[in-house]
Amino acid sequence: MPFKFVEDIAMADVAFEATGKTLKELFESSASAAIESMANPKTVKPKIKKTFRKKAKDIDGLLFEFLEELIYLKDRFAIVFHDVKVKVDEEKMTVQAVITGDKIQPEKQELRQDVKAVTMHYYTVVKRKYWKANVVLDI
């Protein structure tokens, strides 16, 4: 399922709407939006692999924690991302993620914005026919 960047929400920042038939799809499409904001994933080789697990009280909090971890890893290890795969357990309210990426190399990668944070501005995660999340990233 796709994501799209939304223009009409945050003038100086990046807003996106991500969708998914399942929570796995929602999390992966949200991750795609976040990692595309930082660098073109097609220009990032999958040389480094990291895994992490997050737990929260609800889906809303779980997606926030998950996206926030991507931004943390970007700064902590100076990496940008190629791909993210997840397993979401709605009962235990956990997400298990495997990310691939590479050390930041401006001469080899198409770098974009240094995302500072996931904001709670107009932040929503809802399920109707399918899952949908609205997220604003601080740039």
Binding site: E7, L111, A117
Partner: protein, 486 residues
């Protein structure tokens, strides 16, 4: 951007002052007040009014919720927002400060003239681009252990001077002497330290930059000379950046905490990004002390960058920085919350002043200023787009009566990042800028396009509003000639 926000019926209180009365929205405790020309207020996006009046609903707010003329919609608070809260009945909100705690500006003089610098501009900008890392997740050269980093966050910029990254005189030329004393590293997470430990001396991205500028026009010769600017072909350097991943994580940690604890304090907010805690609560105080660490990190970051700038000039011009009179003019914060004394209902009292995309510009009477500024007022550096230039202002005592001693911080966006990218490619903008005599290096062409001059308000109109209002006075306008864009 306008999302069903009704246009307020403004009460015009002066040539550039527009009030939104408390009747505009249920729950407003004070009026909203916007500083703008007629032209600027007509072009302001309506979400600003919604966000400003949301701020006016927060507990303990004093006098007015304020917006500077460069205001645009942000998250929670508008960018360009100023709000003061009673420390006993009021709140502190990370959304009123921004994730980039103590994002700020720094201006450095040289005694070099345009004709001396132009022949060496390209190697100078290229060397600075190499020595001051910019862009996504960039790492700096300062290597510290986690324990050392935590101490630096409490010591602020004096650590830099003690360790060879600055001159003694630099400290008195920074807001709060480059160190907020109530910083308490025990209130900061390991996660924040891990995120920021390798980033001292880096610009980041977004609208952050390092710029070589020519002092284009001097408005107030006497004040300019006191600040070290003597002629219109003098070369200066301006830096815009903040506390990097460390500050961003402090903001994130406490935003999450405050979202959880608001029900405990019976606080509800119309936008989750306005999450807040009573200032005197344990959580509120913990954030206040952690935020001071992040503010100190930003002072250190910009000081390490100044050290690199001096090194680069030394290498290119083969003169000592002292010989080139590379003095810091000032370092100002524009994303902070501070306990300050202001006049409320006719008497002086302590309030928690939030400035989010707004610059402190105290008048000469304030004892917080170093003695050298007590006759001219606090310098305020207002950064424009990389095409339109920037300004050096000084604060007035009138600002203390009207805006809690605050003025604008930049041009203010009028166009989203996506829209700017659709209008121009980074590659063609780079060529256009070069034709205009501005040599730019960047790590991101898309990021460069997003910062095109047409995406911002005209900066001269912004600073004119605050000049007309008597809040801050124009001293020097600067023209860019070289830019490093994150």
């Amino acid at each position: 951007m306008n999302r069903d926000v009704p246009l307020p019926e403004f009460e015009r209180k002066g040539e550039v002052i527009w009030d939104i009365p408390v009747s505009y929205k249920k729950g407003m405790r004070v009026p909203g007040r916007i500083y703008a020309s007629e032209k600027l207020i007509k072009s302001m996006d309506l979400t600003v009014y919604d966000q400003l009046t949301n701020v006016a609903c927060l507990p303990g707010i004093q006098n007015h919720a304020l917006c500077m003329p460069d205001a645009h919609s942000g998250y929670g608070f508008p960018i360009g927002g100023v709000a003061a809260f009673d420390p006993d009945s009021g709140v502190i909100s990370p959304g009123g400060i921004g994730f980039d705690i103590n994002c700020g500006m720094r201006l450095v003089t040289t005694n070099l003239k345009l004709k001396e610098v132009m022949p060496k501009l390209r190697p100078l900008v290229d060397l600075l681009f190499q020595q001051v890392p910019a862009g996504v997740g960039c790492k700096g050269f300062v290597k510290l252990t986690a324990t050392e980093f935590r101490k630096v966050m409490e010591d602020g910029a004096k650590w830099c001077v003690e360790n060879g990254y600055g001159w003694d005189e630099d400290l008195e030329r920074m807001e709060d002497y480059g160190c907020i004393e109530h910083a308490d590293q025990s209130k900061v997470s390991d996660r924040a330290v891990g995120r920021g430990i390798n980033q001292l001396g880096t610009l980041g991205s977004g609208n952050h930059y390092l710029e070589i500028q020519q002092a284009g026009k001097i408005f107030d010769k006497k004040t300019a000379e006191k600040l070290g600017i003597f002629s219109e072909d003098q070369i200066c350097v301006m830096v815009h950046c903040g506390s990097r991943g460390f500050g961003h994580q402090v903001g994130t940690d406490y935003l999450k905490l405050f979202s959880e604890i608001m029900p405990k304090y019976d606080i509800s907010v119309p936008d989750r990004e306005l999450a807040c805690a009573p200032f005197k609560s344990k959580e509120g105080q913990d954030y206040f002390h952690a935020m001071a660490c992040a503010a100190n990190a930003a002072f250190v970051n910009r000081q390490v960058i100044l050290h690199r700038i001096r090194e680069c000039f030394h290498k290119i011009f083969e003169k000592k920085p002292e010989e080139m009179e590379m003095h810091l003019v000032y370092d100002v914060a524009h994303n902070t919350a501070k306990l300050e004394e202001h006049r409320i209902d006719g008497r002086m009292k302590e309030v928690v002043v939030h400035r989010k995309g707004a610059t402190r510009c105290f008048g000469p009477s304030r004892s917080e200023l170093a003695p050298m500024f007590r006759k001219i007022g606090q310098p305020a550096i207002v950064g424009g787009s990389m095409e339109t230039g920037s300004y050096l202002l000084v604060g007035t005592d009138k600002s203390l009566e009207e805006t809690f001693g605050s003025t604008a911080h930049g041009s203010g966006r009028t166009m989203s990042r996506t829209q700017a990218r659709n209008e121009v490619s980074g590659e063609s903008l780079l060529k256009e800028l070069e034709k205009k005599g501005i040599y730019v290096r960047t790590t991101s062409y898309s990021g460069l396009a997003e910062e095109a001059g047409f995406a911002y308000k005209p900066i001269s109109e912004v600073v004119d509003v605050m000049d007309v209002a008597g809040i801050s006075k124009k001293v020097v306008a600067f023209k860019p000639i070289g830019n490093i864009k994150g």
